[in-house]
């Protein structure tokens, strides 16, 4: 099967090169009949990549340990779900996964793009094929997933215990789907530049794609946070690690694009900026891959260091130079159609929102690369960890939160003082009331107070928007409130879906603020002994050690430490944290013992129990008890983001261009007036 896999990779590579060459030259020579032939070539690339993927999966499932990758990431006793996720757990497999998913997206782009955008498709096929060819080349000339060992070990090494978690089955593919799908909007942007079809048409073609990319990236990031929280055992979910930053960067620029594209659709402005944002998002997704795989920056998440990083660096530089050169050559054709009329307008607010999103992206990138810069310029290595990122980014993040509330409520073109008063009086009052309540309650953490105050303000603006919309429908149509709400959202999906996403963002900021009040305590307990921990909400949690039991389960020996938990004397139940010694099918230990955290999640706080180990091989256990305020809201906010994105994307929500045509009856051109 490895031969078949290798052959399929070569076939896909040659097909991708052919498609790229024909796509660029055919479109350049104006031969639209090539569209059909290119479409078939894209499908053929996908077919070849699926064959290669099936070959690797066959090797994994049949435990062919002569394949280096299978021996390195699986074992005979690895539970079935992790045999599936082993496909993308290692560098080589994840490269094949990337190429195969890119093949799927490229084929979908060809199949699903409406006929009116067909003129862009030859270039789109060419760009996606170049990218696919690059990933295949990395495998063929750098790190092949089908490389064989000179001998066949009786069992594989198994999957890293920390990757044996449902979060790791879901998080990497989601993140990859986000990274990979960015290629499609990028391909359309390049196609628009190459073909000089620079009207708003290409934006219509990529609207859903950008939302899909954003959704996958968002879900991937939140799942990564959840995995870090439940599996790594440090009691947090975001550590500003370079690999985490790498996933955050394209999300920021993509979010900026999703806002600024509205200005182009509504007002014909920011055309250059939007192309630049799409290009930057694509380059940042490649940059993230480079960081994860090159080992150039120390990270707890990166793959083993290998030479493939240089492939990515070369591709990154080449793609950047070519894309921005192309943008420069089309600069005059991307002139704005209208002028901005006032600094107090929705356009201006969105511009400042873009400035902050891109500013945060810059500061994250700057902090991530600063160790390299410092070593290069000063010859001194430095570490840039969470204290740096929190200091630099928290103020920018809070300003962005404020704009989340301000932007959508300001009028287009020009807002009057009366407009501002009408829109913000109630929500500002809510914010001030929350501020007063927080100060009265004795809270003194400045950033947390500001974050919660702004969160209340933004929540107030969103509730007001829904309230006014529902009231208007009730007045106009006499509908009951729930029906009016459903119809309000259903008829304005993009707008109200966006508000729902904002609700998720507000929840996240509030939850982040909660972590400022996290409480940690370590303790050594014999069976029957207790320790008390003060919750930030004022109550006392008592943990009573019950004992440690050991048993064998699946592919591991489990040492389970249990504690009885009580809140102010009232029992909350028993919690368990484990040490897991994974073994292969010969019962030989494969990795160092890993930790499974015990978590009791609530709306107010999470109780987080970590069994650190035992004293002298007895049941006397060392624990870390942590109380994490508001963490549940991070995961719920992720769910709200997904709901909001689905509402926005749901078919039937017409694009603004189409809506504008439908509303053309409003146009009343008069003689002597410039239009």
């Amino acid at each position: 099967m490895t031969l078949l896999g290798q052959f399929a990779l070569w076939a896909a590579f040659l097909l991708a090169l052919w498609t790229a060459a024909v796509g660029f030259s055919g479109a350049w020579r104006g031969r639209p009949e090539l569209v059909r032939s290119l479409r078939r070539a894209v499908y053929a690339i996908l077919g070849a990549l699926l064959v290669a993927s099936a070959a690797l999966w066959y090797g994994i499932v049949t435990h062919d340990f002569n394949i280096e990758y299978v021996a390195a990431y699986t074992s005979r006793n690895l539970p079935k779900p992790y045999l599936i996720s082993a496909f993308w757990a290692g560098q080589k497999g994840s490269l094949l996964f990337w190429a195969a998913v890119l093949g799927i997206f490229s084929a979908l782009a060809q199949a699903l793009t409406p006929k009116r955008h067909e003129g862009l498709l030859p270039h789109v096929a060419a760009v996606t094929s170049v990218t696919t060819a690059f990933f295949i080349a990395v495998m063929l000339f750098g790190d092949s997933p089908f490389a064989r060992l000179p001998f066949t070990p009786p069992d594989g090494r198994g999957l890293n215990p920390q990757l044996q978690n449902v979060g790791m089955v879901l998080h990497p593919p989601m993140l990859y789907l986000g990274y990979i799908s960015i290629t499609i909007p990028f391909a359309f942007a390049i196609a628009a530049l190459l073909s000089r079809r620079l009207d708003a048409g290409w934006l219509g073609a990529i609207r859903k794609w950008t939302l899909v990319s954003w959704l996958f990236l968002s879900v991937g990031i939140v799942l990564g946070m959840w995995w870090a929280y439940v599996e790594l055992g440090w009691g947090g979910y975001w550590a500003w690690d370079p690999v985490e930053n790498a996933s955050f960067l394209p999300w920021l620029t993509m979010t900026a694009f999703l806002h600024s594209v509205m200005i182009q659709e509504k007002r014909g402005m920011l055309k250059r900026w939007n192309v630049a944002l799409i290009v930057a998002t694509f380059l940042l997704s490649i940059f993230g891959t480079f960081i994860t795989r090159s080992g150039v920056i120390a990270s707890v998440h990166s793959f083993a260091q290998s030479g493939v990083g240089y492939f990515f660096l070369a591709f990154l530089v080449a793609a950047g130079i070519l894309s921005f050169t192309l943008l420069y050559t089309r600069w005059p054709e991307l002139e704005a159609e209208t002028r901005l009329e006032s600094t107090v307008s929705r356009e201006a607010a969105f511009l400042f929102n873009n400035l902050l999103l891109v500013g945060i992206a810059f500061s994250v990138l700057w902090g991530t690369l600063f160790p390299i810069l410092s070593e290069w310029l000063q010859g001194t290595k430095v570490t840039v960890g969470p204290p740096f990122f929190n200091r630099v980014n928290v103020p920018l993040g809070l300003a962005l939160l404020a704009l989340t509330g301000i932007g959508p409520l300001i009028a287009w073109r020009k807002a009057s003082g009366a407009n501002l008063r009408r829109q913000f009086a109630a929500s500002a009052t809510v914010g001030l009331a929350v501020l007063a309540a927080l100060l009265a309650s004795g809270m003194r953490d400045g950033y947390a107070i500001l974050a919660l105050t702004l969160a209340a303000f933004v929540a107030g603006t969103i509730v007001q928007e829904f309230w006014r919309g529902v009231r208007a429908r009730q007045r106009m149509h006499g509908e009951a409130a729930p029906l009016a709400l459903l119809r309000l959202v259903g008829r304005n999906r993009r707008r109200y879906g966006g508000y729902i996403v904002h609700v998720g963002i507000v929840m996240m900021f509030a939850a982040f603020a909660g972590m400022a009040f996290k409480v940690d305590q370590e303790a050594t307990l014999r069976p029957g002994e207790s320790v008390a921990v003060e919750s930030p909400f004022g109550h006392t949690l008592t943990f009573t050690h019950l004992g440690v039991s050991q048993y064998k389960a699946l592919n591991r020996i489990v040492s389970a430490a249990t504690v009885q938990v009580a809140q102010d004397g009232r029992s909350l139940g028993v919690m368990k944290s484990e040490k897991r010694q994974h073994v292969d099918s010969f019962d030989r230990p494969t990795f160092e013992p890993s930790t499974e955290v015990g978590i009791r999640s609530g709306l107010r706080e999470d109780i987080y129990v970590v069994y650190a180990g035992s004293v002298g091989g007895t049941e006397q256990a060392v624990y870390r008890f942590t109380v994490n305020p508001l963490v549940w809201w991070v995961w719920f906010a992720g769910f709200v983001l997904v709901i909001g994105a689905f509402v926005t994307m749901w078919p039937g929500a017409s694009a603004p261009n189409e809506r504008r045509q439908a509303q053309s009856g409003y146009e009343v051109p008069l003689a002597g007036v410039r239009s």
Partner: protein, 211 residues
């Protein structure tokens, strides 16, 4: 002698058996995994043996210092997170003891940090000290955003002024409402006989529709 057991002998034997059983039971060791602090069946499976937690491990002053210093094991975590998370690390417990010893020798928190960095190198500070070239590291993002924001505000003001001047240059009672180009509802021209009040009312209505 009768072979039959009389009641006295039977009770005596019973008592002796009970006493023997009781003695044997008293001498028995706790079964693995049971008892007040029983031994684990396979201690190695429960990870590295741990020392009992000392007061220093929950000392907020020590924790605050440890959060500023990087572990030397290559994990990229601070000493506190490493020693309370990566229980396979042999470096961070030793580093904790070093930090405690430095603190107990009478050094202030800053002096402990300096002593640590002197021994292991400046790269073991979790974030660079805001001085010299590193100060640029802290300031550049903020300055860049502020500069870009100021430029953006200036450009917007200038463009808004130009737009206002163009609007004023048009004859009163004739012109477009809002932008001359594209809006959410398309260009809308004012009838030449519309009064400023009517124009303003129409503008407000349009704003409400667009919002």
């Amino acid at each position: 002698m009768s072979r039959r057991l009389d009641r006295r002998r039977f009770l005596g034997l019973g008592a002796a058996a009970l006493a023997a059983f009781g003695t044997a039971a008293g001498a028995q060791q706790p079964m693995p995994g049971s008892g007040e602090s029983g031994r684990l069946y396979d201690p190695r499976a429960a990870g590295r043996p741990r020392d009992p937690v000392g007061e220093s491990q929950n000392d907020p002053g020590i924790i605050a210092i440890e959060k500023q210093l990087k572990c030397t094991c290559g994990c990229n975590l601070d000493v506190y997170i490493c020693r309370t998370t990566d229980f396979t690390c042999t470096y961070s417990p030793a580093l904790h003891k070093e930090i405690v010893a430095l603190k107990e020798s009478g050094l202030t928190a800053d002096e402990v940090i300096e002593a640590y960095l002197e021994k292991y190198g400046p790269e073991f500070r979790m974030a660079p000290k805001a001085e010299g070239f590193n100060l640029a590291g802290y300031l550049v993002p903020g300055i860049a955003v502020l500069a870009a924001g100021t430029m953006l505000a200036l450009v917007l003001r200038r463009r808004a002024a130009v737009a206002a001047a163009e609007g004023a240059g048009r004859a009163p009672g004739a012109g477009t409402i809002g932008a001359p180009g594209r809006t959410g509802l398309g260009p809308l021209a004012m009838p030449s006989d519309a009064t400023p009040e009517e124009a303003e009312r129409l503008r407000r209505s349009l704003e409400e529709v667009e919002q």
